[in-house]
Symmetry: none
Subunit: 220 residues, 2 copies
Amino acid sequence: KQNFLVIGLGRFGSNVAKVLYENGHDVLGVDNEASEVQSIIDQKLIADAIQLDCTDANNLKKLDLDKFDAAVVAIGSSIEGSVLVAANLKEFGVNKIIAKASSTMHGKILERLGVDTIVYPEAEMGRSVARQLLGLNFLEEFALNDNFSIAELALPKKYAGQTMLETDIRSEHHLNILAIRRSGGHFSVSPSANTSLQKDDYLLVLGTGEDIGNFKAVDS
Amino acid sequence: KQNFLVIGLGRFGSNVAKVLYENGHDVLGVDNEASEVQSIIDQKLIADAIQLDCTDANNLKKLDLDKFDAAVVAIGSSIEGSVLVAANLKEFGVNKIIAKASSTMHGKILERLGVDTIVYPEAEMGRSVARQLLGLNFLEEFALNDNFSIAELALPKKYAGQTMLETDIRSEHHLNILAIRRSGGHFSVSPSANTSLQKDDYLLVLGTGEDIGNFKAVDS
Ligand SMILES: Nc1ncnc2c1ncn2[C@@H]1O[C@H](COP(=O)(O)OP(=O)(O)OP(=O)(O)O)[C@@H](O)[C@H]1O
Ligand SMILES: Nc1ncnc2c1ncn2[C@@H]1O[C@H](COP(=O)(O)OP(=O)(O)OP(=O)(O)O)[C@@H](O)[C@H]1O
């Protein structure tokens, strides 16, 4: 069970806090606005939330910062506030600091302060939405556990025109083809033995990380 | 080659526009602030950007809206502005509208207006950052394109003990079960009709975002 500090309970921060808490970890939510603190308590998103201005180092000192595994600074619209809080946390030797940045320059400042991970929510979601719109959301290799991963892979040329049965993808490469993404955007799910593979197909596969790696190396 | 209209060139909108453009499509970026328009032109993120207040239907009329495959409304901090623009686009029969919402109520209003896809960037990124922090490797809903997503979902209690054939997951919920993650960490891939479902199973499913959302609501 881990212990997290989330400073700033806006849309981003409250969602970080909520998911950490839902997964059984201890979360302390902090905001300098009483209304935000009350709202997260009323909605029962997390168990512990207090009002505190974290730009004030004396305030932060009261928080027994050593016990936290990580702190999230979720203050966007005040670069000054975000940077002061991050600097304070760094001063107090907090293990791991994640901060959201509202602009590239804001992010650069946080980097120079030694913040471990910087997040640009609006920019990252903008890119992701554009890719979804274009049907470009290929699932990069995702580890389901430390054995199996799923991944979406371009069909190696040599299989174009073959049926599922004719390929060696299962016998040789030990990969399960969960679905085939056709170039029209259509999906052929749990394809049968006689489903044929086409030139611009992408295969949604399940297998070990190693088998996926070997398959990617085929004709590339 | 597609043609996209992006209204609102803040961090989210400018990134949507930029990725669409980088992928070879035509993009018209619109913002009512001259400074935002100039900035996106100076940075060469897209080729075409104009200043226009899109809450004014007469302004929008000048834009030959029929030629766009989709429009993205990327206005966050003014619910009135976002909603008026979305309503105007709907009136003019724009094919497909994607809009970002700054709150659940804002999102509900956009839904009632008939907006096709609603995005909550800060909330979604907050959840994603929390899961990264926890190294959680259940595949959260991943949009493969703007129709289909895959997701790993806890088995609703009512299905425990049923066979695949006995459940209504396909017939009622229109979800394809690509694989079942058993509590041992073992996977049952492309499960057959007589595979039985067990209490702590997680289902790797493929379906529309809406069907996945409805399924998540079963017995929770
Ligand atoms: N010095 C501070 N100490 C504690 N909390 C703060 C401080 N400054 C700002 N906050 C809180 O952080 C929260 C998020 O900040 P803000 O609204 O500026 O960022 P945002 O990026 O717009 O938020 P969102 O996550 O909703 O996108 C607010 O609820 C605000 O009250
Ligand atoms: N009626 C309108 N017509 C055109 N553009 C508009 C209109 N209203 C707002 N905008 C523009 O939309 C952009 C984004 O809006 P705003 O800054 O309110 O949202 P935001 O959600 O905070 O943005 P971000 O994407 O940076 O998170 C701004 O550049 C703004 O000038």
